[in-house]
């Protein structure tokens, strides 16, 4: 009986502690942008090009600024895999090499979704990837007409 109770508690603890991480890693992603300067809609291939640092400016002339969750966070890992098709290490190497060549700016990485949203809200040209948008001072950018990636 004691063994049964212990096993049940152990399984519950294991599920409780791993599930939120796993859920965050598999969660849907969406793109947020600075309300005044980032387009409200984009095509997927355009988004990919922007997020890979290939576009220096938006059509309105504002500088493109990237905001991503740190690759060590669940949302960051999810972004690396689903948006970039890279591991966190590959993503960091990719951008470090571009910066070293003088051809792109490094993304701004954040540990907190609140900080990322606040940064996108206040920074002209900023675009970010998250699992949800809680700050009304940013807009959700539709990708191929969809809110979710």
């Amino acid at each position: 009986m004691k063994r049964l109770i212990f096993s049940t508690v152990y399984c519950w603890a294991a599920i409780s502690f791993t599930c939120p991480v796993t859920q965050a890693q598999n969660a849907e992603l969406l793109v947020i942008g600075n309300i005044e300067t980032v387009p409200s809609e984009m095509k997927k291939n355009q988004l990919t090009s922007v997020l890979k640092g290939e576009q220096q400016r938006w059509k309105n002339g504002t500088k493109v600024v990237l905001a991503l969750m740190d690759p060590d966070t669940p949302i960051g890992r999810n972004t690396c895999t689903r948006v970039y098709n890279m591991s966190g290490d590959e993503l960091q190497r990719y951008f470090l090499l571009l910066v070293f060549q003088g051809k792109a700016r490094a993304p701004n990485f954040f540990d907190s979704t609140i900080d990322l949203e606040a940064f996108v809200a206040k920074t002209p040209g900023a675009i970010g990837v998250l699992d949800q948008a809680t700050d009304s001072s940013v807009k959700i950018v539709l990708i191929d007409g969809n809110e979710l990636l």
Binding site: E54, Q56, R57, K63, D89, Q92, R93, F100, R105
Partner: protein, 327 residues
């Protein structure tokens, strides 16, 4: 008036973002039965956003120099002011890596990024002019094929970083496309006039030389395979000895095993036509076989065997291990 124009272009509300990084390496070599430990270059790399459109890039290298009183030299490898005037089009001023081929445009002095331990032979034998101080127009990722261009005018060979040694300018025109993820195909043309009396890599040029370099390159770095092949046709001509041709090429291939392990090979070939008078004309073929282990994006270990066959200077074997880091 000039100062007024300079300040008009600035946005005083823009916050400055400065990044400082470094790169270094340590090396172990076994050659002619002798084991040696050595340090490589220490590379200090700085970028900063000066204004909304103006940015700075600087790369300074500290390296061993037997002729220096302290046995070390400080070398300014790159100083670039970049003005992003429209979209993906930039104006660059300063000391650049000459955008003549993929390797020189991509890897600079950060050994942690190099797919092999050392640069290909066409750099070591001074076929390619690694640096140019001048001005260039650059375009990146234009259109569906992600077309890119570099048009550069600069102080040519024989000049210093502060003064051209003659009235002639070097011209570089390079283009490339990226039709698929990871793939880049490029070509370039370089021309310079090297004046009589100019000092090039320790030797004094005794006659005026017209130098043209035509380069083609293919680079593919994918999830599983890596391929890089470049070839340069060099034509050095003067009034008396004609125009001997030099063909300098290399091909690199790597295979990613389990993400972090990459066995690779590289073959270099330098072929000088009879009568070559500027380069050290010793036909050379080199084979490199190696293994690269990428600990993470800032730390890489490489182990290589190299066999070099030179028609005049003879053959050479060496085994080298390198630990390269970024910080």
């Amino acid at each position: 008036m000039t100062l007024l124009i300079l300040f008009i272009g600035f946005n005083p509300a823009h916050g400055q973002k400065t990044l400082i990084k470094g790169f270094a390496e340590v090396v172990t070599t076994v050659q002619d039965g002798k084991l040696s430990f050595g340090i490589g270059e220490q590379d200090l790399f700085i970028t900063s956003e000066i204004s909304n459109r103006l940015s700075f890039l600087g790369e300074t290298v500290f390296k061993f120099s037997p002729s220096s009183p302290t046995k070390f030299n400080v070398s300014i490898e790159r100083i670039i002011l970049k003005y992003n005037y429209k979209g993906n089009h930039n104006l660059l001023v300063g000391k650049h890596h000459t955008p003549i081929n993929y390797w020189n445009d991509t890897y600079h002095h950060g050994r942690v990024f190099f797919p092999t331990i050392n640069r290909p032979l066409l750099f070591q034998k001074h076929i390619i002019p690694i640096h140019t101080t001048g001005l260039s127009l650059q375009g990146l990722n234009l259109g569906k094929l992600k077309f890119g261009y570099d048009i550069m005018i600069g102080n040519g060979l024989g000049s210093s970083d502060v003064l051209d040694n003659d009235k002639y300018k070097s011209i570089t025109a390079a283009v490339h496309i990226k039709p698929k993820d990871g793939l880049r195909i490029g070509a370039s043309y370089y021309h310079d006039v090297i004046s009589e009396g100019a000092e090039i890599h320790g030797q004094i040029v005794t006659t005026r030389i017209n130098q043209s370099l035509i380069t083609g390159s293919v680079a593919y770095f994918g999830k599983k395979f890596e391929l890089l092949a470049e070839s340069t046709l060099a034509i050095n001509s003067n009034d008396s000895t004609g125009s001997p041709l030099t063909v300098a090429s290399y091909a690199y291939a790597g295979l990613k095993l389990k993400k972090k392990w990459v066995p690779y090979i590289r073959v270099d070939n330098l072929n000088y036509q009879s009568g070559e008078f500027l380069f050290e004309a010793d036909n050379t073929t080199s084979f490199v076989g190696g293994l690269r282990y990428e600990i993470n994006f800032l730390a890489v270990v490489k182990l290589e065997y190299q066999y070099e066959h030179r028609e005049i200077a003879g053959n050479d074997n060496r085994v080298t291990a390198q630990f390269a880091i970024g910080f």
